[in-house]
C-alpha cells in the first residue's frame, strides 16, 4: 500500500523533472519568458531559505532573538565576501552553535 503510494509519488516527481526538459522545445518559450526565467534561482530558493530560518519544527514563527536569524546573517555576510560555499555553511552553523551552546546555555 505504502509502496504503491511511493511509486506514484516517484512518477509524479519524475514528471516534474522531465516535462519541461523533454516535452517543451525552445521555440515554445518566447524571449520575454526566457528573460523572466533568468530569475528562477532568486525566485525559488528563498522559499526554502525563509521557512528554514523563520519557522520552527512545529510550524510556528520563531522569536526575533532566535539564534538561527543570527546564524543566517553571518552566513550571508561570509558568503557575500568569501564566495565560498563551505565557508558560508560553516560560518552559519558555527555561529548558530556558538549561540545555542555557549551564550544561551
Amino acid at each position: 500500500m505504502t509502496l504503491t503510494a511511493i511509486i506514484f509519488a516517484g512518477i509524479l516527481t519524475y514528471f516534474t523533472r522531465m516535462t519541461m526538459i523533454a516535452l517543451i522545445s525552445r521555440d515554445m518559450l518566447g524571449d520575454k519568458i526566457k528573460a523572466v526565467l533568468e530569475y528562477v534561482p532568486s525566485a525559488v530558493f528563498p522559499a526554502i531559505i525563509f521557512p528554514g530560518i523563520f519557522i520552527n519544527d512545529f510550524g510556528t514563527f520563531i522569536e526575533m532573538n532566535d539564534p538561527k536569524i543570527f546564524g543566517a546573517l553571518v552566513a550571508v555576510i561570509v558568503g557575500y565576501f568569501s564566495k565560498n560555499i563551505i565557508a558560508t555553511i560553516s560560518a552559519g552553523l558555527v555561529s548558530y552553535w556558538f549561540l545555542i551552546f555557549v551564550v544561551f546555555n
Partner: protein, 228 residues
C-alpha cells in the same frame, strides 16, 4: 573545448561543497523514516524512486499522521513542482540532446545541481557537451543521497539532534543566491519570494513552495517591464 570527462568532473567539484549540508540532512531523513515506524526497505525505496529531499520527509510525516495516500502523493507532487521551473531554464541548454538522453538526464535534476550547473552553463554556453556538467552534479548528489539516507536508516540518527543540522539546508541555499544580492532586481525578487513563503506557509499541500516562486516571477516580469 572541454572533454566530457572534464565537464563531468567539473560538475562533481561544483556541487560537492553542498554535500556538507546534504549528507547530514540525508541521514536525518533516513533516520526519521524508521523512527516514524516505516519499514526500512520502504524508507530506502523513497530515496531511489522519489529522490527528493524534503518531500520524502513530508510524505512519511503525512502518512504516519493519518493522512490518506492521495494527500501524501499530492503533497510530494506539489513540493517537487518547482522542478518544472528548473526544467524550463535548463531546456535551453539541453535542446540538442536526443529524447532518450533528455528522459535519462531528467532523473538527476536536483535543486543544488540545477543551481550550480545553471551558473556554469551561463558562463560556458558554447561548450559542446555541456550536459555532462549536469550529469556530474546530478550523479554526485544521487550517490551521496543514497549513501546518506541508507546510513540514517541502518544506523539511526547518529547525528546528534541538538546540533540542529537541518539548519544547514537554508544555509546551503543562501550560499547559492548570495552573490545575486549585488543586483537590486534580484534582491526584490528574493524578498518577494521569501515573504510570500512565510505568508502562505500554511497553505494546503505545502503549496507555498510553488505559490511564492510564481508570485516572485510575476514581480520579476514587472521589473523587466519597468527596466525598459
Amino acid at each position: 573545448m572541454l572533454t566530457k570527462k572534464q565537464l563531468f568532473t567539473r560538475g562533481m567539484l561544483d556541487i560537492s561543497p553542498h554535500m556538507l549540508s546534504v549528507i547530514p540532512f540525508g541521514i536525518i531523513c533516513g533516520a526519521i523514516g524508521v523512527e516514524l515506524g516505516f519499514h526500512p526497505y520502504l524508507v530506502y525505496a523513497m530515496s531511489f524512486i522519489i529522490f527528493g529531499g524534503a518531500s520524502q520527509i513530508v510524505f512519511l510525516q503525512l502518512l504516519s499522521g493519518g493522512a490518506s495516500s492521495l494527500v501524501a502523493v499530492a503533497s510530494v507532487g506539489i513540493i517537487n513542482s518547482r522542478h518544472l521551473l528548473y526544467g524550463a531554464v535548463l531546456s535551453e541548454y539541453l535542446e540538442k540532446l536526443s529524447f532518450i538522453k533528455k528522459l535519462l538526464i531528467s532523473y538527476v535534476v536536483v535543486d543544488q545541481g540545477f543551481a550550480e550547473s545553471n551558473k556554469f552553463f551561463k558562463k560556458n554556453r558554447n561548450e559542446e557537451f555541456l550536459h555532462y556538467h549536469l550529469i556530474g552534479t546530478g550523479c554526485t548528489m544521487w550517490v551521496c543521497w543514497q549513501i546518506a539516507t541508507l546510513s540514517g536508516i541502518v544506523l539511526g540518527s547518529f547525528v546528534p539532534e541538538e546540533l540542529g543540522l537541518k539548519f544547514a539546508i537554508p544555509l546551503t541555499f543562501i550560499a547559492i543566491v548570495v552573490q545575486d544580492l549585488k543586483k537590486l532586481d534580484h534582491v526584490i525578487v528574493m524578498i518577494t519570494c521569501g515573504l510570500s513563503s512565510l505568508l502562505f506557509f500554511d497553505a494546503p499541500f505545502k503549496s507555498y513552495i510553488i505559490i511564492s516562486p510564481i508570485i516572485a516571477l510575476f514581480v520579476a516580469a514587472l521589473l523587466l517591464r519597468l527596466k525598459k
